[in-house]
Symmetry: C2
Subunit: 206 residues, 2 copies
């Protein structure tokens, strides 16, 4: 087994990465993450940042560097990455890139139970889905375009391109699924429809 990480939350990876550039206090980390749009790639909220930084500190991957009070503001604790932290960052990143793990997207769960809805309703929902996906894809593309125009190097936009690739594949799959359900030649639609007391859905409007 691959040596369970002491801190498994992916937010910790981002924290290590940012701290490898320069020491910061948690709030500043949050600001930086948002500014760089990393909140699109890594789930986080105010609370989880403090939690993760605490975990990293307990694990010895970061240390309190100074506890300064600027003016009358609450104490801000600045953290710095340690050598162990740098090693963890490299090792963890390498693992994530080199060894894809089995994940559980919500749509997979939904598909595995899809027979609980009648096929007529499902085709409608799938059409809706396709539109949502197209819109999301367009948004991602727009984000890339404006970023590039603003001078952001392409290297820092690969994750967005990856997202687009997945969205496109999802869209294509969704379209094919609609076709298969509405295609009267398919074997599995009729029993499905009958189970729900429906007749097979027509192929209008695809």
């Amino acid at each position: 087994m691959p040596a369970q990480r002491k801190v498994s939350n992916l937010l910790a990876l981002a924290v290590l990465s940012y701290l490898s550039q320069q020491p910061m206090h948690p709030y500043e980390l949050g600001r930086s993450l948002r500014e760089h749009g990393d909140d699109r790639s890594i789930k986080f909220n105010h609370g989880s940042l403090y939690m993760v930084v605490g975990q990293l500190a307990r694990a010895g991957l970061v240390t309190e560097q100074e506890t300064s009070r600027g003016g009358q503001r609450p104490e801000r604790t600045v953290y710095a990455i340690t050598d162990a932290g740098r090693a963890e960052l490299r090792d963890w990143l390498a693992e994530l890139v080199g060894q894809p793990r089995h994940e559980f997207p919500a749509f997979v769960a939904a598909l595995s139970l899809i027979s609980a809805l009648p096929p007529g309703q499902v085709t409608g929902l799938l059409r809706q889905r396709r539109e949502h996906l197209a819109r999301q894809r367009a948004e991602s593309q727009a984000l890339i375009d404006t970023s590039l125009a603003a001078g952001v190097p392409g290297l820092f936009l690969v994750e967005e391109e990856y997202r687009i690739a997945l969205l496109a594949a999802d869209e294509a799959f969704t379209g094919q699924l609609i076709a298969r359900i509405t295609d009267p030649g398919t074997d599995w639609t009729s029993p499905w429809a009958q189970f729900h007391g429906e007749s097979a859905p027509s192929e209008e409007g695809d």
Copy 2:
């Protein structure tokens, strides 16, 4: 905002679906889930089942139907779905199919921080990744083939086909990314390599 679900764990969706067929006790639910291979689509373990069933009961979406003791075995509590539970099942499924939510796959996180690794190492890792993906895709395909041969209707294998579609897209993207990094014509590889004190990686072996 879309009326936060009282129980948000996707395992609960599967539980509702299975209980809509017939009442069962938690352990039996677990067995059924594994037998149908739903553990590939929905993350669960022994403990989380009991938790989720408890949550569903508190939310009124399922009820204890009977508490039978068969022989000397520990008490088995059998649960049945309620009308509210059936409504929740339909509504939740419809939402999941019709409105794709923003998700956070690990590889997206890794890509967003990829500049922390030197490009030479990254290309190697990406090649590794591509092989892993190909293997996973082959496994999924094999699973589909044997299931179909065993008489499982295609309707119950769509989620596996979806997974294959995503894996294929991922593979393709990974290949293109390797090409872009090793392509000496690309603008973003050189500064990246220099930042790590490397020369740009060559395009051998792709």
